[in-house]
Symmetry: C2
Subunit: 294 residues, 2 copies
Amino acid sequence: MIKNIGFIGLGIMGTPMAGHLLKAGYRVCVYDVAAVQREKLVAQGAIGAGSPKEAAQSAEVIITMLPASAIVEAVVLGENGVLGAMEKGAILIDMSTTSITTTKKIAAAIEKAGLVMLDAPVSGGDVGAIEATLSIMVGGPEAAFQKVLPVLQKMGRNVTHIGGAGSGQVAKACNQVVVAMTIQAVGEALVFAKKNGADPAKIREAMMGGFAQSRVLELHGQRMIEHNFIPGGKVRLHQKDLDIVLEAAKDVGVYMPGTALVSQIWNSLAAMGGLDWDHSAIVRGIELLSQTQL
Amino acid sequence: MIKNIGFIGLGIMGTPMAGHLLKAGYRVCVYDVAAVQREKLVAQGAIGAGSPKEAAQSAEVIITMLPASAIVEAVVLGENGVLGAMEKGAILIDMSTTSITTTKKIAAAIEKAGLVMLDAPVSGGDVGAIEATLSIMVGGPEAAFQKVLPVLQKMGRNVTHIGGAGSGQVAKACNQVVVAMTIQAVGEALVFAKKNGADPAKIREAMMGGFAQSRVLELHGQRMIEHNFIPGGKVRLHQKDLDIVLEAAKDVGVYMPGTALVSQIWNSLAAMGGLDWDHSAIVRGIELLSQTQL
């Protein structure tokens, strides 16, 4: 039975996730570079730590939820890092979205030390984190997955074991490819509808009943029609995710013309000052180049 | 109450659709250029006609289900065409997928003659036609839509009135854009998964629980994993549909880079001799250029 959890990274995602673990009765020791973030969790009953290493001490499970591959690497393998404090039998769960190469590198270092790491990135955004309805895609040893499953289920609804080390990150990468291109698809379709004199809201409704149905059409389609680009899933993060995908695609040789196209469209949103808009704002580029607005 | 229906075009879609109307108790007069197709329906109780005009005579509703815009135009406006036989109050329902320009042109000619046309293209393929579960997107006058709704509901499950003349075709065009790009998205993601050493079936399953969920991921994703490209929805027809979209996009000025990309990919499938494969075969191009197979 897991009782002690170290939780590192208390941003928009990590804060509610760590909160769910506290509510579930775990002893949670938290760390974030921002003291104010740690204090929020301490006020909810967490123990504050002064370093990643301190957060990892005496924990059976250490969770990292960080914004970039390099930060995960520093937090785990760097000075005062998690690896220096992990005890025999402890399991590191990296829930950040990181590059597949970095994940495999960290997993190898952890394994070399006789310990276990799972890569367990999530889908569902801040709403999913707050409502504990995240999809969690897990790579790494099956036995470790089974052991930490009750912990993961406190934060998410669809928790799937994909396969060996790195495969959680592969699943997340695939997810981001499909979501990005589907947003682009819905954006092109709704602008097409508008410019051809049809009501985009009616078209969305009709499409929901057929082969074009998707969660993206439902949620992001509605956002486009309302021109509501308050995030939600930020362009900035999705841009980072497609960078990871295209880097891995380059490494292993995968032909991804649609993904590459959307990654260029993120650049146009950056040009519009829209990196912190919701990713459904893809439609603004289509609108701009079609000289219309939904 | 509608009792007499003329039905023109008895292909893979029209045959089961006309069959449902017969089963529902309508008197259906059928025409197709292929006598053998007419005879199939006559064996089920239909009346055979020798021309589109003959099929339209004494019908309160005339349905066309034809493979190309030019054929619809010839069948409706040409010699021995439907228009010559339509009686006052009769409603023409074109359920073919035709160009928006052609649809508006035919609708205008019908209107000029004091008659009514609805454009009512469908989504759902041959399976939807056989199971009477088609999505039907309807453009044209609301009163006519309400009048023929019971007839349409014999063939489909989601019957939506979108707006004025041509808007059914606009909705269908949008549908085909979203479906095409979502297939491409799923294809890129699954090949990426495979080449990164993860199990595409597991990845599909995990994605079904999150924002990447779609009917395309569910159905076409499964086809890709099984390498089952028996149609279903043929590349040939989807290629035609995107031609219609890109023509209309050019006419009114819509920026559709993703749609244009997929329309090029249809060309690569043509090069592989795959025009009669299921449209999920998009993945074969991605596989070929990534030197792998799901």
